[in-house]
Subunit: 356 residues, 2 copies
């Protein structure tokens, strides 16, 4: 759900992409993104494409052809990173887990020490499973091996702490349409000083010109030399979305999402249902609930949508038919909304024959 102020910003008259006003908009966005990522040292940038464009920008700039890319693979978006890495000519190695499981420190450390990759990638918040992957041990082991770390923060940014600096992430990317409550269209990135230094001394030219972060950073924050024509309206919307967040206070926003998530989980358990992901490893903004035996998840979802206009998602891939994926984020993350949603979910499950 997008705040009315953000829609209003989206339709403000556009200026040119080399206009001083637009550079101010980009500068504001960069500053507002700092606390949302959890960084004071990192460089924040915005890619003119949606979340997967941010993923491709991370891969194409930091994965050199022939280098070893180690992926902690436990869901759909890890597979997408793998695919991009292969297209980039990297040697992709993976540590596999079931969708919804997460990696403990020991297995992540052992994997990285064994593989000694140039770059490590993991998904902090996996939209396909609802799992949150802590990154401190991954980042420490990667840095000991001389590797940089890419973290997919598409579903965490704005809804729960990314803790960019505290975790030790080098390259984080996200989207605008989830935790930031803005329409899709841009991908915010955050780069550690280590990543910026690596980029500055990279001997080869990235294969992509559109996603070349050196050129984009120069355009956005250094010389303002023309690179591409940025989607001005989307930048207006993103700035407004970040201002809405700043006014609430990012900690307050996280806390609101956490409270709603905890209320949701308590109620789900009281309904005799199970969360798909283990406690302590759950994304606050995207809850995955196991579909009870004998219940057709598609019928429940259809009922919620047709009768109450509530859209919840199903699982896909290995989780098809096995989980409900329920987003509770942005302006919708209130206790009243969660109660309403739970009541309707209870009724829809009951109508499909579920008894707690």
């Amino acid at each position: 759900m997008v705040h009315p102020r953000v829609y209003a910003a989206l339709s403000q008259p556009i200026v040119g992409h080399l206009d001083a006003y637009f550079f101010q908009v980009m500068k504001d966005i960069g500053q507002l993104l700092g606390p949302v990522f959890g960084t004071t040292q990192g460089a924040t940038l915005v890619i003119s494409g949606t979340g997967s464009a941010g993923m491709e920008a991370a891969v194409v700039n930091f994965v050199e052809p022939g280098s070893k890319l180690a992926i902690l693979a436990n869901g759909y978006f890890c597979d997408r990173i793998s695919e991009m890495g292969k297209r980039e000519g990297a040697q992709v190695v993976r540590l596999e887990k079931a969708w919804g499981a997460t990696f403990n420190d020991e297995e992540a450390i052992e994997f990285i020490r064994r593989e000694r990759p140039q770059i490590v990638a993991y998904v902090q918040a996996e939209t396909s499973t609802g799992a949150f992957q802590p990154g401190n041990a991954i980042c420490t082991a990667a840095h000991e091996a001389g590797a940089l770390v890419i973290a997919d923060c598409v579903t965490s940014l704005g809804g729960m702490p990314v803790n960019f600096e505290q975790t030790g992430i080098d390259i984080a990317y996200s989207c605008t349409q989830k935790g930031l409550s803005c329409p899709p269209g841009l991908s915010p990135l955050c780069l550690s000083p280590r990543a910026m230094e690596w980029l500055g001394s990279r001997p080869t030219t990235p294969r992509s010109w559109y996603f070349d972060l050196k050129l984009i950073h120069d355009y956005a924050a250094v010389s303002h030399r023309y690179h591409h024509t940025a989607p001005i309206s989307m930048f207006y919307a993103l700035r407004e979305a970040l201002l809405v967040i700043a006014q609430e206070g990012i900690e307050n926003r996280w806390e609101r999402h956490r409270r709603c998530h905890e209320l949701f989980v308590r109620s789900i358990k009281s309904m005799g249902l199970q969360m798909h992901v283990a406690e302590g490893r759950r994304i606050w903004t995207l809850n995955t609930v196991s579909v009870p035996p004998g219940i057709d998840d598609a019928q429940v979802r259809k009922r919620l949508l047709d009768e109450h206009g509530i859209e919840i998602l199903g699982g896909f891939g290995p989780l098809a038919g096995k989980v409900f994926r329920i987003g509770i984020m942005g302006p919708l993350a209130t206790e009243e909304n969660v109660q309403f949603l739970l009541n309707e979910l209870r009724a829809a499950l009951g109508a499909e024959g579920y008894r707690a």
Copy 2:
């Protein structure tokens, strides 16, 4: 300048990127783009990035590493295609002309016959110079050599005929913020049946996943299988911009731009000024006027902007200080606006010491 209806569409509530309504929006856009490109056989697609993203999509999908890319090089954006081709690992060969010159049929044909490339690229409407490059001879020679043809239509689409089919173009890309009078954010593409067939039988995987046209076409028009999250709001805006164009009638719109251009050129000549590009090779929507000897173009542009809020652009690269680049397009392309602009330009030149 963006039509108020387009701004209004931009701020309509978003739906999901897999919503039936959104697929209808994409379908409408595809159909509305046909007459604008001048095609009934071509496949129209929209890339989730700005004009340069369309250029990169064209290069990354149709230029295989090691293949020969022949570029008719007469301005800034030909250089950008060359750069992307090199990054893609192509053997780039160029036929060079001064910025603002165009290629006649004989030299284009001779170049292509000599080089026998796999792919030919030219810029139909070169924003940096104001030159329009006809493509029939290029396309015929390329097809005889077994090559596909990429045409950059960033500044022509919507403002003057692209004539995709009649010219024989295989891959055309454009942007939304010029002749379509929409904010920047998307890149419309058009692919000939020959290009689609080539793509379907391409033995190698394109290096870019985000710009993989096979996957994008499948998502947008075939299976609707999730590829990336499209920038929904921008698609709303583009559809509305194309509806505004359809209501005027694309031929009427072209004719309006042509009339304004011809009025502009006549008046410029009556002021004793010269157009930079030869007659018959000028873009209707972007006029380049030679800066008269002894006149500082930056002062003239500053005067127009400060005193009258009129923004005209200067030249850059080899044309720095040598031309004014004056856009007359979309809702601004009326005879009244052109007269107003010419009066103010005359006054600003006079104030800087110009006497016809």
